[in-house]
Amino acid sequence: MNIKLAFASFAAIVVVAGGARALDAAQTSLAQRYYAAAPGDAARGKTFFFAERVNAKGETKSCATCHTTNLKGPGKSAAGKEIGPMAASVAPKRFTDPAEVEKWFKRNCDDVLSRACTAQEKSDVLAFLLSI
């Protein structure tokens, strides 16, 4: 997919989600990289984020297990450490470093789904978190 189309779909998602808020330039460029592989859908990302699954260890988990359902507030790691809010509107430094984003997708998809996330799933989650 070409960059223009990817950016157009990205802009459309932001408008659909009602997010008039401007994203940080680094967040926009990071999102474009993901959307070039698969355009993100915020609504689908939201469903994915809160879907409870039983992983290979038999644990019932979702992204909200640690990040909670209030993504503008802090979450808590399994070891009891506070995790900063996930919503881009209150976390302007999130989703700016590609290596950091990939590191967490790799770890967390493995912990929750016992597999890697697809390009589509990553784009959707990103679109969701950037829209709130």
């Binding site: 790691s77 399994a78 070891a79 009891g80 450490k81 790799k106 770890r107 967390n108 493995d110 912990d111």
Partner: protein, 162 residues
């Protein structure tokens, strides 16, 4: 009369001196007991380890434990904590350099959990300090949360026992 006063004065000096010596010896024992250790100073180690849990000082585990732990980050006590190769190496090197001496007593080089080190269990479990009730009272979900009782844990201070 004058002589007596001098004697009193002298005995006072001796007891103050003895108290001071006892204090130094006490402080020495605490240090030797490992209740104050070097905190992690490397910013990468602080950031990566501290993303999920408290930043445990390197001296809480022997080198062999750190090496094994850093070689198995894909299953880090049940969670995936994988890092890129360069970062993994940097953190492993730092932790190994500051690790507890394997020649010390009550060090178990094969145990990966700090809470499975014999010195740790001796200090905590036998005294009921990490009983379910004690942990709940301190607001800790598990005994891995040193800070619930040792506020200065990440600064390497473990003297504030309850």
């Amino acid at each position: 009369m004058k002589v007596q006063n001098t004697r009193l004065f002298n005995s006072g000096v001796i007891s103050v001196g003895a108290a001071f010596l006892a204090l130094i010896a006490g402080a020495g024992a605490l240090l030797a007991d490992g209740e104050r250790v070097a905190p992690v100073r490397d910013p990468v180690v602080k950031k990566e380890c501290g993303a999920c849990h408290i930043v445990y000082p390197a001296a809480l585990l022997p080198a062999q434990s750190w090496r094994a732990m850093m070689a198995g980050l894909k299953d880090h006590f049940g969670d995936n904590a994988e890092l890129d190769e360069a970062t993994t190496r940097r953190i492993a090197d730092y932790l190994v350099a500051g690790a507890a001496s394997e020649r010390k007593r009550r060090i178990a080089p094969a145990a990966l959990r700090i809470t499975e080190q014999p010195w740790w269990t001796r200090k905590h479990e036998k005294r009921g300090r990490v009983s379910t009730r004690a942990l709940a009272k301190a607001g800790a979900k598990s005994k891995s949360e040193c800070k619930a009782c040792h506020e200065g844990a990440e600064q390497g201070v473990f003297e504030d026992e309850n």
